[in-house]
Symmetry: C2
């Protein structure tokens, strides 16, 4: 039997830098994780990335490595695979692919991190064997990726899947993106923080004030959910809004794409497992008969989805 080929997968996030070696048969080996250290700027982060890559490449027979796939938290140029803009990394126009290709002499592909994670779930996670899926990740923000008949939807400017900035309320709460009524304004970690900030500033009484030591930035979805359960009216409003507006946005997404599977992942989904059930119910309740057949499941790969997806794009792309 010939030895497996490998692809390197990297998940370059704002706080963590993760990597691993994916075999063609779908096994992930040599998983590594370190701090991204975004404060060091592009040169410092690239040095960290190269260190991780060297470690991974040194751990195997290099001649069996086909290429490198990088999932990056930002907007990726569809042709050059440069990072056009990555707010969490504070990067603008970093020629990531060129840097890595010239350093390691291996074909390199850069994919948006959320889309890479969706692809990972499709090929190796909760979506194994399905024809089409939408994967939605709810954390600090709300992002998604969709695969239809084996095609990962990227869009014309590589910006497909921005469910967090679909509008669910006409002239609703402002969102840092410049629009109003976006899902992220109601149903994301950052949305919760902003709403608590305003509430405390205007004197709203809520136990979340004490729960966070009056530092709204310390608010988590788990804290909101717990305070809502204990009956805090403000927390209850926050949580109900998050559930129903996310439910509406997911239902609309399902109505538009009619996928076989809806995969729910991300930090908020992990810390508050009940949310997935409520969302599954709403997707059924808020869609017409034909789209109701969608199965709604939790993500299967946790924080390795991006590594899987990025590595697999090496083979899927070329």
């Amino acid at each position: 039997m010939p030895a497996d080929r490998y692809a390197v997968g990297i998940d370059l996030g704002g706080s963590k830098l993760r990597g691993g070696l994916l075999s063609e048969s779908g096994q992930l080996a040599g998983r590594l994780e370190m701090q991204t250290e975004a404060w060091k700027g592009p040169a410092g982060v690239l040095a960290n990335l190269k260190r991780v890559l060297s470690q991974l490449l040194d751990s195997t027979d290099r001649s069996r490595v086909t290429g490198i796939g990088i999932a990056a938290a930002g907007m990726i140029h569809p042709k050059t695979h440069a990072v056009v803009y990555a707010p969490n990394l504070e990067w603008r126009d970093v020629p990531l692919r060129d840097e890595i290709e010239s350093a390691f002499g291996l074909p390199t592909y850069v994919e948006n991190d959320v889309r890479a994670a969706a692809w990972g779930e499709y090929r190796f996670g909760a979506g194994r064997g399905v024809q089409s899926l939408i994967a939605v990740f709810v954390g600090t923000g709300v992002g998604s990726g969709a695969v239809m008949d084996g095609l990962l939807l990227r869009g014309f400017t590589n910006a497909a899947g921005e469910i967090g900035h679909t509008q669910v309320v006409m002239d609703g709460l402002p969102c840092p993106c410049g629009q109003r009524g976006c899902v992220e304004a109601y149903a994301s970690g950052s949305g919760f923080v902003r709403r608590l900030q305003s509430a405390l500033a205007t004197g709203t009484v809520t136990s979340l004030g004490e729960d966070t030591g009056r530092e709204p930035a310390r608010l988590t979805a788990a804290l909101v959910a717990r305070a809502a359960e204990t009956g805090d009216p403000f927390a209850r409003e926050l949580w109900q809004d998050a559930e129903r507006y996310l439910g509406m946005a997911l239902a609309n997404y399902v109505t538009l794409l009619n996928p076989e599977l809806l995969v729910l992942g991300g930090g908020v989904m992990t810390t508050v497992p009940a949310l997935a059930e409520s969302l599954a119910r709403q997707v059924r309740d808020r869609t017409t008969v034909v789209s109701r057949e969608v199965r709604v499941v939790r993500a299967g790969l946790g924080d390795s989805a991006g590594i899987f997806g990025a590595a697999d794009r090496v083979w899927a792309q070329g």
Copy 2:
């Protein structure tokens, strides 16, 4: 030079039955149109359809015809190409492909009519040469089709693109689909009719009462637009709701798929050309920077889009 091959394209709608011969080079010849006569039931409609097909096939060298494509206004079974349900035709489980294949001995493909029209626009109409598009048709209902990187999105149960039943208002107006707050309840011919019915029933004063001879079913989008312009408050509310909720739904669709082009067609768009401009503006205003680059254009093939799209699926599928 070898003679062109042909595919027959049929657009089987609730009121009109249209057909033509599409050459491989993209020319439509021998266009025919007759009444569907849906009141005759499946057997009567199938007889009409076969008559149109015979006429088209007799008009050319049959050996040069590759197959038959039918765009049908209904839900099509993804595998058998039977018409599962077609409300406008009042059909349930009509084995359309089998019927036509056994009658004419030619490979036959059945596609949902809106999706076929979107494919027609992509290949031969307003979308020629683009990588991806969304085509939205606003008439009695609101439907759409999307093509991404050359893939026509059909979905798991062949129901993708139902933008008319995406929700734009939480707990909004009821829609015959059983949901609330659907786009179609605010921005479609049938939605206008239902809103005028309720308004007249509850004594709302509006010039649309006289304009329709107090028969709400005779209401058209053109009447609403004209009465809104003359300052009728109810008509103005109807029209503003239609514009803004359709604008919001289109913006969300663009945010999710990030297409190169958004094509606007259908009866309402044709009778009220100013609507397309208003919607284009809203799509720019209601999306984030990256998706704002979408071009918004009017459909190019009019009521031939379904014929083009259906015929071309013969080659695209076979």
